[in-house]
Amino acid sequence: MTFKRVVVTGLGALTPIGNDVPTYWNNLAAGVSGAGPITKFDASKFRTQFACELKGVEVTQFIPRQEARKMDAFTHYALIATDEAIKDANLNLDTIDKNKVGVIWGSGIGGLKSFEDEMIDYAKGDGTPRINPFFIVRMIADSASGQISMRYGFRGTNYVTVSACASTNNAIIDALNYIRLGRLNMCVVGGSEAAVTRAGIGGFNANRALSERNASPETASRPYDKDRDGFVLGEGAGSLILEEYEHAQSRGAKIYAELIGGGMSSDAYHITAPHPDGLGAFLAMQDALNDAGIAPTDIDYINTHGTSTPIGDPQELKAIHQLFGEHSFKLNISSTKSMTGHLLGAAGAVEAIACIKALENQLVPPTINHFTDDDEIDPRFNLTFNTAQARSMTTVMSNAFGFGGHNAIVIFRKLS
């Protein structure tokens, strides 16, 4: 059978460096850091006291207060980013077949703060369980896709993917396949995360994943730099409208790019550490190229997972070199987490948007905060250090890897 083609027709972003796509992209291109001291709780006793928080988000501008209080922040972020994406796609909700519109969302954790708050409240009492009836629905990760469907009446396939920091890419790949098969005409995909909480910072501190560069938050996320010391936790959401090509054409939609393939694998190695030879990353990238039916030399830019951890960064590059050979030194590579921080399950969402805007603008966003070369990293890689680079691009790849050994890769191409 012939697969249907899948294109991107709407984008929405709520990020630490911009509360909409235009601001996000401008700040990516300009190399702006979203990091700063934590404002959401008193972090003075935590090893890490900074994060990439959202700034100036007025939830009730988008969601009535009565509905908003029954949702965790990660669901607020999902609805806010999707609001922009739906408007951007210029959808006529009265004429499309909403039974054939799905929502597949990614979140690594779900409503962490809701869980935290409720249990702290419980622990303060005498043991009598006075659990809020909205506690479970605020917390569970699939609330995000459920709430999006209720807001717009989208009655197609609906669920949330959970594969830690690969969550959104898994959501994108699932939607790609449903649309290819004709099971859906459109799908809202994306991811959201709101883990800048005591449990989130404390938990990632405990497993030594976070940077502890408290004296200089804005330079702490420094992928590929010799002195990188962990990732910087970010929060927010990205939302994309995926649509079957002819469906998009027939309604005269603006088409950003074609989603041509996705690849997945598992390290089957360790719960937090990546495979030492980057085996899982290699297999997933190879799977994505095969799925897209293209050669390694077709890729112009890779938005890497590149979280700024000592062991993760070089292993991903090792896998890229193994798969792309000499071409790995010709393509552009960058980690936009140097600016946004690591949005965990939403990372794939905001990075897919970075890739699509890079294609649209023919500009590679930089890896900021490069100060010192690392001997472990081959200097022949073009890691797009510190300044955006103009480049003629047709095809771009976005990598995401998660705790648990999950790897998921997506490839976008300019529509020919």
Binding site: Q66, T128, R130, N132, P133, F134
Partner: protein, 79 residues
Amino acid sequence: MSDIAQKVKNIIVEKLGVEESEVTPEASFTNDLGADSLDTVELIMEFEKEFNLPIPDDEAEKISTVGLAIEYLEKHIGK
């Protein structure tokens, strides 16, 4: 208005997002104030917390209006 009645009103206004003027003694949580079944459970729980008074489920089911809530609480608090 009693102190209890005022606190009950405040909780209802806060949780259901209604105007205080709508919170009349006759007002039904579900029919007049837009509450669904979970909202009602939440209201009862908030009353229990505010007044530190356990409300048994069979009693809670009968509390369907603002007036019934105030009446129940005034009867049981401090006893």
